[in-house]
Every structure is written in structure tokens, then in C-alpha cells.
């Protein structure tokens, strides 16, 4: 397309280890490009807030209906692991912020280091999460091997779930003991999926950083992935007290 060429605006590279950035053809200035990308990403984050918001609404709804279930259920979670994981995510949010800052100031190796530390944080988070799930599996509160089995219907209209065995009967005294663990599993699994996606995005950004694409003149992708990672942290900030502490 011949029209594109004479419109190209190029942001020069700040040093030999960086590559210049060419502004997309339909933007007049790099500022316009940056702000468009950023506004678009904020809108995307707004959709994420509302998507998780539905889950939080369900949490509050049933916390209100079955307060005892949530109180006893919350006691089955290990708040030490939850607090540890919270700290890990907060630290990784800090490394991410520092990573963005390094990209803004054209410090390539520091950017790579901070982004790498953030991925490490994501990995530690998922490992701890794995051990938490494993404990739930051992107590029969979420039997993962039975997760997708059909609902067992009783003749009297009630029924039971294959994945909720409750070997030690800890939830026997409260109505619908599975409810807390179903919501716990759904919220943490969707959050965990975001952690994994976030880590993948950071690794992708690290490749770009290594090639010298991101510098003071153009760091939008690092900035946007950073925002995504902070959102993941933000959601956990609310999940932690709701699931581990308050009930």
C-alpha cells in the first residue's frame, strides 16, 4: 500500500542496543499512538473488573445466604499460605513496576532482571497454589479426579457431588458445605489462569526487551503488560481476605 510510506513517523532508538520504533500508519504522532493503546487497555481492564465482579457478587450473595458455611469453610484454608502468596504477589507487582520504570529509562538489562523476577514471583505463587489445592484434594474438599463426574441424585430430590467428599466431616454441620469450596475453586482458578497468562505476556515482553524494542521512546507494551499484572495483584488483594480471613 503505497500510501503508508510517506506517513511513517519513526521514534529514534536512544542507543545502539535499541531499535527505532515506527508509529503505525493511522496515527500522526507517537503520543497519539501511546495514548490510544493505553486508553484501549484501560477499557479492557474495566471489562476484567466487571468479569471478576460477577464472581465477587456471587461470593457476597452466598456469604449472606449461608454465613456459617463460609465461616467454617474459610477455616479450612491455610491463612499462612494465603498471606505468603499475597506477599509474593505484592513483591512481584513491585518488581513489575520497577521493570516498567527501567524500560521508561532505557535500562535494558535492569528491565530484563525485573521482568524475570516478576515471572519468578508468578511461578512461586502457582507452586504455593498447587500445594493448597493438593491439601484440599487430600481432605476430600475438592477431589480433583472426580471434578467432572455427574451430580448424584437421590430419590428424595436432594443429591450430592462426586467431587465433594469431606473425608473428615468438617463441613457436616453447615448447609451446602460444597458451596464455599466451589466458589473458592472457581475464583482462584480463574485468578490463577490470569497469573499464567500474565506470566506468559511478561515472557513475551522479555523477548522484545532483549531485542531492544522497548526504550524511553517506546515502551507501551511493557507498560500495558505491567497494568495487567497489577490488576492480577489487585484482584488477589480482595480474594485473600474474603477467602482466607473474613469467613
Amino acid at each position: 500500500m503505497s500510501h503508508d510510506d510517506h506517513h511513517a513517523v519513526v521514534v529514534p532508538a536512544p542507543g545502539p542496543e535499541f531499535v527505532p520504533h515506527e508509529v503505525a500508519h493511522h496515527f500522526s504522532t507517537p503520543v497519539q499512538e501511546f495514548q490510544s493503546g493505553k486508553l484501549g487497555f484501560w477499557l479492557f481492564l474495566a471489562t476484567e473488573i466487571l468479569l471478576f465482579g460477577g464472581l465477587f457478587a456471587a461470593y457476597f450473595y452466598f456469604h449472606e445466604v449461608y454465613p456459617e458455611t463460609f465461616r467454617v469453610g474459610g477455616q479450612q484454608l491455610d491463612w499462612r499460605l494465603g498471606a505468603l502468596n499475597t506477599s509474593v504477589l505484592l513483591l512481584s507487582s513491585w518488581t513489575m513496576a520497577m521493570g516498567v520504570r527501567s524500560a521508561q529509562t532505557s535500562q535494558k538489562s535492569k528491565t530484563l532482571m525485573f521482568l524475570g523476577l516478576t515471572v519468578l514471583g508468578a511461578a512461586i505463587f502457582m507452586v504455593i497454589k498447587f500445594f493448597e489445592y493438593k491439601a484440599k484434594n487430600e481432605h476430600g474438599l475438592i477431589v480433583f479426579s472426580e471434578l467432572f463426574r455427574p451430580f448424584i441424585e437421590n430419590p428424595d430430590g436432594t443429591g450430592s457431588l462426586a467431587w465433594f467428599q469431606d473425608y473428615h466431616g468438617v463441613m457436616a454441620g453447615v448447609p451446602h458445605g460444597h458451596m464455599f469450596f466451589a466458589i473458592y475453586l472457581t475464583m482462584t482458578a480463574i485468578h490463577g489462569l490470569h497469573v499464567v497468562i500474565g506470566a506468559g505476556l511478561i515472557i513475551w515482553i522479555m523477548f522484545g526487551t532483549a531485542k531492544g524494542r522497548f526504550h524511553a521512546g517506546y515502551f507501551m507494551p511493557v507498560d500495558l503488560v505491567g497494568l495487567y499484572w497489577h490488576l492480577v495483584d489487585l484482584i488477589w488483594i480482595f480474594l485473600f481476605p474474603l477467602l482466607y480471613l473474613v469467613p
Binding site: M1, H3, S36, L39, G40, E48, G54, M179
Partner: protein, 552 residues
């Protein structure tokens, strides 16, 4: 989509090379499938939603034919459930929601604000492919056993039925993100890519309407996404939050569902308002009456629509207090809506009205939407609603809005911008005849349904008592007439691509930026970067010469 290219290529038999337009600047399958040009994506959307509309219409005709006799003509009761579900799901998710923003919006919004493209062209293409994925998944769901839940997926039935609910749920999730990305793109485009001089109050009202729609798409659709995901999780591992057997509450599902699906009504109708605003002004050759009122009423509708979803749940076991609040708040939507209707009528009044075919469709809209809107106020009244809930009165009401208003506005917009899109004119005579047939057929289909509904005919039933037979038969005949009108429209529109006359450079005499570019527009929309120095709808600036000159 590829049929358009030869049509343009053969249209220029002159010796000089044809002017480069977005249609002929490149060719081949990949130049369309991988295009980042908002105009080509708009055309692909147009083809897609057009096919979805025809499929949904076919299901509608099957439903109407089945109801010819009280005992039903064509299907078993269970199959009937699937057919009306298919009609609803295809029409709502594949046609009405994406139709105007995806096709006409994509085509004209960047032109109207004077941009070279939408702000995020790759996301725009992704939005189309998500739509396509959703359409394929929906079709796949039919093959995998169909779905019979109604387009609303109400729990607990959607949790227990043995049909392909997870597949169609996934389709709706994907379609939701297609819609979100379109809306997101439009918001960024309007904020960041307006041409110099294009202030907020110089934007055409179509842009205001699409902007308001986009706010709804971005903020409401994610909740639908999580709702269908939760339904899928219920079916996969029984979370239990919607399942009364497990201590869940189906009313919570309805809250979640209508938190999206009520604003979704305005996702559907606001773009239609935008089209009508443009058309009544252009074809009356008069600035819009109450420009700012219409602009702000779009925003007001967008906000208020988030406060009224409970009026879909008056018989679902909500608390009485919630019902009071929702019924009361519902009436507020009528205010900005009426402002629009009155402003349009005031615009037409004493204008120099040209009864071109787009204007005819727009005038039909004004009549039908008045009925559709006012019956909505009736249904929003709590005590009346308890009587009319889930009857054909509701069916007739929302078809007056969705089919009568939104689809007619879509047709109006299609006729209005068709010459701009393709540089070809359809037969005005056939267009006027088709408009008349559609108007008559539509009213004949749904007026009997208002009467039946007020007498207690419940919706979604495969059979009915013999007393309703004449009404049902009138409705079915109306539907067939409507179908013929649509078929005629499809015929002359396609014919115009093959053998239509060249359109004029400015076919209707519009003064917004979309009529300031060559017809059809070049790949980058404008030959020179536009500078806006006039107020919008200032017809003193109209270049009459461009109305005589043929499109290139």
C-alpha cells in the same frame, strides 16, 4: 465479499485507469481475510450478519408456519423449543447486537470523525474473527444436539437439559468479546483520532450513538461472559450457585443475565437511533432539532439502562421492594427516548423532505418505534406486567423494537450508505416497494400478537387454544409477506452490485465527513487530512456539484 471486487473492476470501462478505492486497491483472498482496513472489515461483518439475519429469519418463518394450526403443523413440541431458541439466539447474538456497530458502524465511524482507520485495527479484525468463531460454534451447537433453553439460558432448566448448552455458552462468551472489542475500539477512536476541528459537539449523532453503545458494550458484556461461564461450570462441575438442588438461587442467574441483557437492548437500539438521527437530517435537508439533547439522551439512556434490569424478573421471585425500585426506575428510560422521538419528528417538520428509500425506512422506523417504545412503558408498569408477563404482548413489544425498529433502521442505514460503500445505486423503485411490503408485513405479523398477548396467549408454546387461531394465522401470513419484502430487498441490493447504476459522489447531499471523501472511499479514507471548520449538519456548506457528479 469477493463478489464485490469484480463488480467494481467492470464498472470502469473508460480508458483511464480507475481511481484507487478501498475495494480495488488490492485483491486476492488474503487482502480481505487479513485486512486491517475498517471498511473491508465492515463489509465482511455485513456479509456475516446478513447471513445470520437470513438464517434467523428462516427459523422465524418455521416458527410461524408451525403455529398455523392450534396443534402445530411442523414439529414435535421439543423440536419447536429448539427452533424458537435458534431464532432467538441467532437473531440476538449473531445479528442484532453486532449488526449496526459491526457493519455500518465500522464503515462510517472513522469516516465521520475524519480518521484514517479505527484506533486499533488489529483488534477490529480480531473482533470480526471472534464473531465468526461464535457463529461457527453456534452452528456446531445445532449439530451437537441443539439447544432448547430459549436465548436467555434460564437456570435451572439450562443446567439440566441434555442439549449442547456448553457449546452455545462458549459461542455467546466469544461473541461477547467480539462485541467488547468493537466497542472498545470505537471509544478509543472517538477520543483519540478525531480530525482537527472535530470537537465533541461537531460529531455527527451517529458517532454519539455508537459511542454510548460502546460504553454499554464494554461495561455490561463482561458480566454476560462470566454468567455463561458459570452456567458452563455448573454443567461441568456443579458449582451450585444457580442450582436449587445444591443450595443455589436461580434468581441470581437472572440478576446476572439481565445486568447484561437489559443494557444489551440499548446496545442494539442506540446505533439504530444514531442512523435515524443522520437520516432524518440528511433527507429533510435540515439541521437536527435538539442536537445536544439527542447527544446527551444517548448517554443518559446508556447510564439509566444499568438501573432497570429487574423489570425482566417481576414474576421470578424477587423481593417486592426490588420490584418497586426497578419498575419506578424503568419509567426514566422513557424520558431520553421520547426526547429523541420528538426531536426527529421536529426535524422532519417543515424540512424539505426527500422521500428517498432510506428516508422511507426511517419514517417507518419512527412509526413502529413509537408503538414499540410506548408498549415498553406499559410493560414496565409493575402490576400490568404481572398480567402480561411471558405473553405474546411481550413478544410483540420487543419485536416492534428489535425487528421493527432496529432492523428497519439497519435497512435504512444500509440503503443510505450503500452507494457510499460500493459506489453503486440499487433500484429506488424496487426499494420503495420493498419498504412498503416490509412495513405492511411487519405490522400484520405483530399487531395480532399484541391482541393475543393481552388475552393471555403465553409465549414459547408449541400449541394453543383454538380461539387464537385467526390471530395466529394472520400473524403467519404477515410473516410471509415480511419475508417476501426482505427477499426482494436482498435481490435488488445484490443486483445493484452486478448491474447497478453508478452512484453519485454525494448521493443524498450529506454534509458530514463521510460524504466529504470520494465515493467509494480510498484505502486511507481521505485524500487530504480533513479539517473541520463548520458546525455539523450545516447544509449551507453543501457542495451541490458533488451531488451531480458520478462516483469514480
Amino acid at each position: 465479499m469477493t463478489t464485490n471486487t469484480p463488480a467494481v473492476a467492470t464498472a470502469t470501462p473508460e480508458t483511464q485507469a480507475p481511481r484507487e478505492t478501498y475495494l480495488n486497491c488490492s485483491s486476492g483472498f488474503m487482502s480481505w481475510a487479513g485486512t486491517l482496513d475498517h471498511k473491508r472489515i465492515g463489509i465482511m461483518y455485513l456479509v456475516g450478519v446478513g447471513i445470520a439475519f437470513l438464517a434467523g429469519g428462516l427459523f422465524a418463518l418455521l416458527v410461524r408456519l408451525h403455529l398455523w394450526e392450534p396443534e402445530g403443523l411442523l414439529f414435535s413440541n421439543l423440536d419447536y423449543n429448539q427452533v424458537f431458541t435458534l431464532h432467538g439466539a441467532f437473531m440476538v447474538f449473531l445479528f442484532v447486537i453486532p449488526a449496526i456497530p459491526g457493519s455500518i458502524g465500522n464503515m462510517v465511524l472513522p469516516l465521520m470523525v475524519g480518521a484514517k482507520d479505527v484506533a486499533l485495527p488489529r483488534l477490529n479484525l480480531l473482533s470480526f474473527y471472534l464473531w465468526l468463531t461464535g457463529a461457527i460454534l453456534a452452528t456446531l451447537a445445532i449439530v451437537l444436539g441443539g439447544f432448547d433453553t430459549g436465548w436467555t439460558f434460564y437456570a435451572p432448566y439450562s443446567l439440566y437439559t441434555d442439549k449442547a448448552v456448553v457449546t452455545i455458552g462458549l459461542a455467546v462468551f466469544v461473541l461477547g468479546f467480539s462485541s467488547i472489542f468493537t466497542g472498545l475500539n470505537f471509544i478509543v477512536t472517538v477520543h483519540k483520532l478525531r480530525a482537527p476541528g472535530m470537537t465533541w459537539f461537531r460529531m455527527p449523532l451517529m458517532v454519539w450513538a455508537l459511542y454510548s453503545t460502546s460504553i454499554l458494550q464494554v461495561l455490561a458484556t463482561p458480566v454476560l461472559g462470566i454468567t455463561v461461564l458459570l452456567v458452563a461450570f455448573e454443567r461441568l462441575y456443579h458449582i451450585g450457585i444457580f442450582d436449587p438442588r445444591l443450595g443455589g438461587d436461580p434468581v441470581l442467574f437472572e440478576h446476572f443475565f439481565w445486568f447484561y441483557s437489559h443494557p444489551a437492548v440499548y446496545i442494539m437500539v442506540l446505533p439504530a437511533f444514531g442512523i435515524i438521527s443522520e437520516l432524518v437530517s440528511v433527507h429533510s435537508r435540515k439541521p437536527l432539532f435538539g442536537y445536544k439533547l439527542i447527544a446527551f439522551s444517548s448517554l443518559a439512556i446508556a447510564i439509566i439502562s444499568f438501573l432497570v434490569w429487574g423489570h425482566h424478573m417481576f414474576t421470578s421471585g424477587q423481593s417486592t421492594y426490588a420490584m418497586f425500585a426497578f419498575s419506578f426506575l424503568t419509567f426514566f428510560v422513557a424520558i431520553p427516548t421520547a426526547i429523541k422521538e420528538f426531536s426527529w419528528v421536529a426535524t422532519v417538520w417543515k424540512g424539505s423532505v426527500a422521500l428517498n428509500s432510506p428516508m422511507l425506512y426511517a419514517l417507518a422506523f419512527l412509526i413502529i418505534f413509537a408503538i414499540g417504545g410506548l408498549t415498553g412503558v406499559i410493560l414496565g408498569t409493575l402490576n400490568v406486567n404481572l398480567h402480561l408477563h411471558d405473553t405474546y404482548f411481550v413478544v410483540a413489544h420487543f419485536h416492534y423494537v428489535m425487528m421493527g425498529s432496529i432492523s428497519l433502521a439497519f435497512f435504512a442505514g444500509l440503503h443510505h450508505w450503500w452507494p457510499k460503500m460500493f459506489g453503486k445505486m440499487y433500484s429506488e423503485t424496487l426499494a420503495k416497494i420493498a419498504c412498503l411490503i416490509i412495513f405492511v408485513g411487519f405490522n400484520m405479523t405483530f399487531i395480532p400478537q399484541f391482541i393475543m398477548g393481552s388475552r393471555g396467549m403465553p409465549r414459547r408454546y408449541a400449541t394453543y387454544v383454538p380461539e387464537f387461531e385467526p390471530f395466529h394465522q394472520a400473524s403467519t401470513i404477515g410473516a410471509i409477506i415480511l419475508g417476501c419484502g426482505v427477499a426482494l430487498m436482498v435481490f435488488y441490493l445484490l443486483q445493484s452490485l452486478l448491474s447497478g447504476k453508478k452512484a453519485k459522489e454525494n448521493q443524498w447531499g450529506g454534509v458530514t465527513l463521510d460524504w466529504h471523501t470520494p465515493t467509494p472511499p480510498p484505502h486511507l479514507n481521505f485524500d487530504h487530512e480533513p479539517k473541520v471548520v463548520h458546525e455539523v449538519y450545516d447544509y449551507s456548506t453543501l457542495d451541490y456539484e458533488s451531488m451531480q457528479r458520478d462516483a469514480t
